[in-house]
């Protein structure tokens, strides 16, 4: 089975975020970067499927030269080779532009299975996977918690996460695209041997075909203003507690 895993590089979690001058993205010229977390789970799932069913795992990434860092990391963890659509125009690009760039580079590979993370830790659109599926003409399923490939390799069953602790099993044909939920497996470490082996693996760099799609644009990015209002809740303790929970859930949205 030939599996593609789409991996994005994002600014590390503890990087202090400040909007760039353009006010459409954060200042990241001197940031440190890491692999988008849901993509790490997608990669792990692909590696596990390969261990069970054989085949090949190909990393597909779109972005500027710096993303080679996460590509190498994926190869160090066990992916077999990589395709890097390299363009500065793709740094901080939206889901549409990234999906278009990836689709063009992946088209001729005829993958049996394409995995992406459910969403990215930075933009959080959750769209790259589904737009990519459309562009590749593949059926897709989202928020995947478990992947079960039929013994004959003809199709698969996947478990989707719904709201409120509900799950759903879906049967679908192959080839297909799945967007993977974080936490569905236990991530492996990159071993020193893996890092050394990755140096000999192929990273095929392809230029962006044409200009980056502008189908979707970020208009403005800003830091929400902090306010520090105090509100007193009247009533008996049980009433006040109920109201407090409601406010925390519906207004503060912290529960």
């Amino acid at each position: 089975m030939k599996t593609a895993v789409c991996i994005k590089q994002v600014v590390t979690r503890d990087w202090p975020l400040r909007p760039a001058e353009s006010a459409t993205w954060v200042r990241d010229d001197d940031a440190s970067f890491e692999m988008n977390e849901p993509d790490a789970y997608a990669l792990e799932e692909a590696l596990r499927l390969k261990e069970r069913h054989g085949g090949e795992v190909v990393v597909c990434s779109a972005g500027p030269a710096r993303i080679s860092q996460v590509i190498r990391e994926a190869l160090a963890r066990g992916a077999d080779r990589a395709i890097h659509v390299e363009s500065d125009a793709l740094s901080a690009a939206g889901a549409d532009a990234v999906a278009a760039a990836l689709a063009a580079a992946m088209q001729d590979e005829s993958f049996d299975l394409v995995l992406t993370g459910l969403q990215s830790d930075d933009q959080g659109f959750g769209q790259t996977g589904v737009v990519l599926a459309e562009r590749l003409g593949l059926p897709h399923a989202t928020i995947i918690m478990e992947v079960d490939i039929a013994a004959d390799g003809a199709g698969l069953r996947v478990k989707r996460e719904l709201e409120s602790g509900w799950f759903q099993w879906v049967a679908m044909p192959l080839p297909a695209l799945l967007t993977i939920q974080s936490g569905i497996n236990q991530l492996r470490y990159a071993t020193l041997r893996g890092i050394m082996a990755a140096k000999r693996k192929e990273i095929r760099t392809v230029p962006l075909d044409g200009v980056a799609s502008q189908g979707q644009r970020i208009l403005e990015l800003y830091v929400p203003e902090k306010t520090s209002a105090t509100r007193f809740i009247d009533g008996s303790a049980p009433e006040a507690a109920r109201e407090l929970v409601r406010l925390l859930r519906e207004e503060a949205r912290v529960l």
Partner: protein
């Protein structure tokens, strides 16, 4: 000289950093409280192959240089962990690699590389002779195919968590050799069979969680085939392993230093007293800035020493200077962090006091600051020998 592989270094840093993130502050804090050995961490680092970085590929390691090994240990300490639990597994084997027979190397190195065998105890220091290594009292007397060992070592770290111990003992009495550096030999002691049969290990409670011990030898029989290299040349073998150790310890200190500074900066930015972050006061920020400058300067000396080492050039002066500068810088950073945290620096939950205790060691072990200064004075500057 080889061009540094910048990508590899970046990959190593991020991979080791990633691995260490799964062993957060409270993992180390709990072990410290219980004085327990970080088994799971060491096992994970071993399985991922990092401790075999310096073992040549033909013996199952990765054949990397001291530069890469230093990055690995630095990242462990920088993450808030403590490499001292396992750093010796990386470099003690160097004596075996450089001076062992081909049969010894084949017998041990691949299993050390895989982690099946731990060689991370080194028996040098003795209670009565301390730093004056050539005066050590432990004797190994040849008897046919065996050596019979009697004596005592102190501060032997990780002996309880090691399958093998590298031991230095006198094989020819001091009075019978021309030079005091002659007559010492190095052995590989198999602790799995020796404990209870001539070896007793007694844990030493110390200021920090270091798994250090006293080791007693009472007619321990060591097969002659376990001697490494020639009889009587052990002191030289010991010396030529020291540069690697100095550079790696320096790297750990740099990692500690960076950790302290990162924590101090974060706290100074967040802690508000007198209606302003404490870091806004130059009295708070200057010491942090100075400590940072010193850590970075020490790191350059460490990098230089490592570069010379990997290029096969003499690096005794640089390795010693790197160890001194880095140990001083990490200790300064530790003090600055403790001061920045104020009272909270003393609270176990902030980990500053733990790392403070841990990094203090490097002023004394594996070599004390004075001894480095005397090396520099005598061997680099040509000042008179003082002892």
């Amino acid at each position: 000289m080889a061009v540094p592989d910048v990508e590899l270094h970046q990959d190593l840093r991020s991979a080791v950093g990633e691995l260490c993130r799964r062993f957060p502050d409270n993992y180390w804090r709990d072990l410290d409280r219980k004085e327990a050995y970080p088994d799971e961490f060491v096992q994970t680092l071993t399985e991922a192959g990092y401790l075999a970085a310096l073992i040549p590929e033909q013996y199952g390691g990765s054949g990397l240089g001291i530069t890469e090994a230093a990055i690995i240990l630095e990242e462990v300490n920088r993450s808030g962990g403590n490499s001292a639990a396992c750093h010796a597994q990386m470099y003690i084997m160097g004596t075996l690699l450089r001076h062992g027979s081909e049969a010894q190397k084949r017998a041990y190195l691949p299993r050390i590389a895989s982690g099946e065998l731990r060689l991370q105890a080194f028996g040098v220091t003795e209670p009565t002779t301390g730093t004056d290594t050539t005066q050590l009292q432990t004797m190994a007397v040849r008897n046919g195919d065996l050596y019979v060992v009697n004596g005592q070592k102190v501060w032997i770290s990780r002996a309880e968590y090691s399958d093998l111990m590298l031991l230095i003992a006198r094989t020819t009495p001091r009075e019978e050799v021309a030079k005091k550096t002659d007559g010492l030999s190095v052995f590989l002691v198999d602790l799995r069979t020796a404990v209870g049969n001539g070896v007793t290990i007694r844990p030493l409670r110390a200021m920090m969680n270091h798994a250090t011990t006293e080791v007693f030898f009472d007619n321990l029989e060591v097969p002659a085939e376990n001697r490494i290299g020639e009889e009587g040349r052990g002191f030289r073998y010991l010396l030529d392993g020291l540069n690697a150790e100095r550079i790696l310890i320096a790297a750990e200190c740099v990692g500690d230093g960076r950790w302290f500074i990162e924590r101090a900066v974060k706290y100074a930015n967040e802690r508000v007293v007198f209606n302003r972050p404490i870091g806004k006061n130059q009295g708070v920020q200057f010491p942090i800035a100075r400590a940072h400058v010193n850590v970075e300067a020490a790191d350059l000396m460490r990098a230089r020493a490592a570069e010379l080492f990997d290029g096969g050039q003499p690096c005794g002066a640089e390795a010693n200077m790197a160890k001194l500068l880095a140990a001083d810088a990490s200790w300064e950073a530790a003090n600055v962090a403790l001061q920045t945290f104020g009272g909270f620096g003393f609270a176990e939950d902030y980990d500053i006091e733990r790392k403070f205790r841990e990094t203090r060691l490097y002023q004394v072990a594996p070599i004390s600051t004075n001894l480095i200064l005397s090396y520099i004075a005598e061997h680099v500057l040509g000042l008179p020998r003082s002892f």
